[in-house]
Symmetry: C2
């Protein structure tokens, strides 16, 4: 216990650039496709809903992209985030492993999401956009964008997945406190929403359709996505860059890096700077992506071109998918209820650089409480999946008698997820299975796109 | 905007000692009195509910008290907390004032309260105590003690003020996540609770009676108080000591230090190290204590000996009081609903070293949202009172054309107070007045103790 607990960087150590892993990936990246022509989607497919600056970041081949100074100024409100050594959890697990975690829950919105929300709000403000439309699952992304819009003077409208809207009323109040308008999805305010009225619990895919439809139909409104896309993963790499510097302060080198994956942004943010070192032959590191067994995209999906949204308004993206109209059971990790994943993360899984594991809801909450009662922080249900994987790694290290170094991205706190903890503590939390039949049916409705080699 | 935003200290800068202001106060302190004999209360009056270590701290005449190493180790989980320059709020107010705030909401329980909870849990654990009983208003203190008990392996039972129990169900879930038992007060588990069944919204005074009764009646159980007492104020002085170091980093000197006051602990924690400098002639600083108009202890109470709890189980303490059985209206700043205040803080108000101001509920929420939409952090309703006072100071500085330096203790976030924000945003938040008639009646029931000179 005389060893350091927390590795702190001052604000002048906030990264000056984002890491663009695209530049280091072997081969040419698979392009998104225009679903009408099946040709690679170009800027014209995206300008109705994104500003050129973000489209440029989406397709950039530069290994690094400079962070605009006004974005770094906002980052100073909570960055650099702390990196912790989990002394108490290690002792509770009686493991020789050394566990570190990077804590993104210190942001005002409570997760890593503002890292990209601020960058997107700034780019849109610079482009003269007046309003941003978006979707949110558990509410983490919606909160982040509401916050970012309030700081840059933009209007914000958030389509919130029905299941989360009902489970997390205080997330809505948080978004409204920052001035956003929040609409339960599926709603009757869009054609996409009305068409999905038969799925009242909603899904990220449906909410994306609604927000994209609103943005595409209004010149002053753009769309902002909280995960999946290359530029979102790019923005999140401040996490991994800071962690690299902090692990150096700790004098340690991770053997395995662990994060949860919904659309992939927090995983990418932590992992990409470490994966770049592996691709450049500078380090040997394993990477573990944890997802919910109720929505097992990486472990059970097919690797195919599919829409990013449920209705089919987006370009087709090369990814593991459960089918764009698959509606996952309403688990509390709302941020992980997505049928697809970041194309880059999917490619890394396909290439074997990243290992995916799926966990059931109750075992993740058991891990979350174990963490809260040793390390004090109450995690969000999403990173609880990653904590479950960390505990498995630490127990494997104990059995092997191995001093494994584990690095976790603890991407957010659970302050707005207390109804889930309440249900877990009362023994009333369900372990919903994803429906294999529903998935098979959804996969049959995949668009008729070229297969991926 | 090229000026620094955040002043960060590494964990080796956590203070090694607490500051005991008692040693620097002029004259002899007024002792607490045994209500039966009206003689000064001694250790025998306190040993049934407190360990000797804390009783020693309560009456210590030493200017500094060493912080035990295991307590500092736990502090490392969130301390030192950041100090911010409120650039965005300053610009929104168009003020020449420079506003700084120390943010205690980064603790896992969301407020400054763990600073004392950890110290108390450790002292009780060392004394062989198995269980702690306490009260909580808004839930900040109960959460903090639940957390501290989980880290030191103690059981924890929390009597939660009825009004807050109903308004903040997720605070209860948070305490239970850390393993505590939470009981709505007034309850039928104690004589004190049963006697107060006519006040179903409860109060801190009633909840204290219940917890004290439980602790006094069970050898293995002690009591822990989250504010008011000298040793609690002592523990909180880590805040002000860090702030002194951080203001030095900022190269600035506060003209006025602002905090909210319920029982006085967060105010004391920030102010005492600064007040010591004033008492020693090393600085000239003003101090502003902000309280709710619904429970205006410092601005409308009488300076007299009174019980700390409603039923009359505690020693008599010299303080401003609204009468120990006065039940304040159920405002959302549950942590400020207390009939008395820390005797030291009261003495400082009496001596004119601290200025008290009372604010209505709606004007504090208006200030809180203004803060959230500029500085990003959503404050708890308690420090919203202090923010209101800071905005007043900043506007006075603008009118005077004066470069006033204002230091705020932002003692916690509002993540568990969203029902209050929801009501405010819907225009449904009340501005309850305290009842002058109820207060006058309560003051008539003050114990027949010696008047204070």
């Amino acid at each position: 216990m005389t060893e350091p607990t927390k590795f702190t960087l001052t604000e002048d150590r906030i990264p000056t650039h984002w890491v663009n892993l695209m530049a280091d990936l072997p081969g040419d990246p698979l392009p998104p496709l225009n679903p009408g022509t099946m040709e690679p989607a170009g800027p014209d497919d995206l300008t109705p809903i994104f500003p050129m600056e973000l489209i440029g970041q989406e397709v950039s081949a530069e290994p690094e992209v400079e962070i605009p100074e006004p974005v770094r100024e906002v980052y100073k409100l909570w960055r650099p985030t702390p990196l912790y050594r989990a002394h108490r959890l290690e002792r509770a697990l009686d493991t020789p492993a050394r566990i570190y975690y990077k804590y993104e829950g210190v942001s005002p919105a409570g997760s890593h999401k503002p890292n990209s929300a601020v960058a997107q709000a700034y780019a849109n403000k610079e482009a003269g956009v007046e309003r941003l439309a978006t979707e949110t699952g558990a509410g983490q992304w919606g909160s982040a964008l509401a916050l970012a819009c309030s700081l840059f003077g933009l209007e914000c409208v958030v389509y919130m997945v029905g299941a989360s809207y009902d489970q997390k009323p205080y997330r809505r109040a948080l978004m409204e406190s920052w001035g956003a308008t929040v609409i339960r999805s599926p709603s009757d305010t869009t054609e996409s929403g009305r068409a999905q009225a038969a799925h009242p619990t909603g899904s990220l895919g449906i909410a994306i359709s609604e927000a994209v439809e609103v943005a595409a139909g209004d010149a002053g409104t753009n769309y902002a996505l909280g995960s999946v896309l290359n530029h979102v993963c790019l923005h999140q790499t401040v996490i991994g860059q800071e962690a690299l510097a902090q692990m150096e302060l700790a004098g340690d080198e991770p053997d395995v890096v662990v994060g949860c994956v919904g659309g992939g942004s927090n995983f990418a943010g932590m992992a990409f700077p470490f994966i770049r070192r592996v691709l450049r032959g500078e380090a040997r590191t394993r990477f573990v992506a944890a997802e919910p067994a109720a929505c097992p995209t990486l472990t059970r999906g097919v690797y195919r071109y599919d829409f990013g949204d449920t209705v089919g308004l987006t370009p087709l993206m090369p990814m593991y998918t459960l089918g764009h109209d698959f509606v996952p059971p309403p688990v509390h990790a709302g941020g992980l209820r997505y049928h697809g994943d970041s194309p880059i993360v999917c490619a890394l899984v396909k290439q074997g650089l990243v290992e995916a594991r799926a966990y059931k809801q109750n075992e993740t909450f058991e891990a979350a409480l174990r963490f809260a009662r040793t390390e004090a922080i109450l995690p969000a249900p999403e990173p609880a999946h990653a904590i479950r994987a960390v505990i498995d790694e630490a127990e494997a290290a104990r059995q092997a008698g191995e001093q494994r170094v584990i690095l976790l991205n603890l991407c957010g706190h659970g302050h707005f997820d207390m109804s889930a903890y309440e249900a877990y503590l009362a023994g009333q939390l369900e372990d919903p299975e994803f429906s294999e039949a529903d998935m098979e049916a959804a996969l049959e409705r995949l668009p008729d796109a070229p297969a991926i080699a």
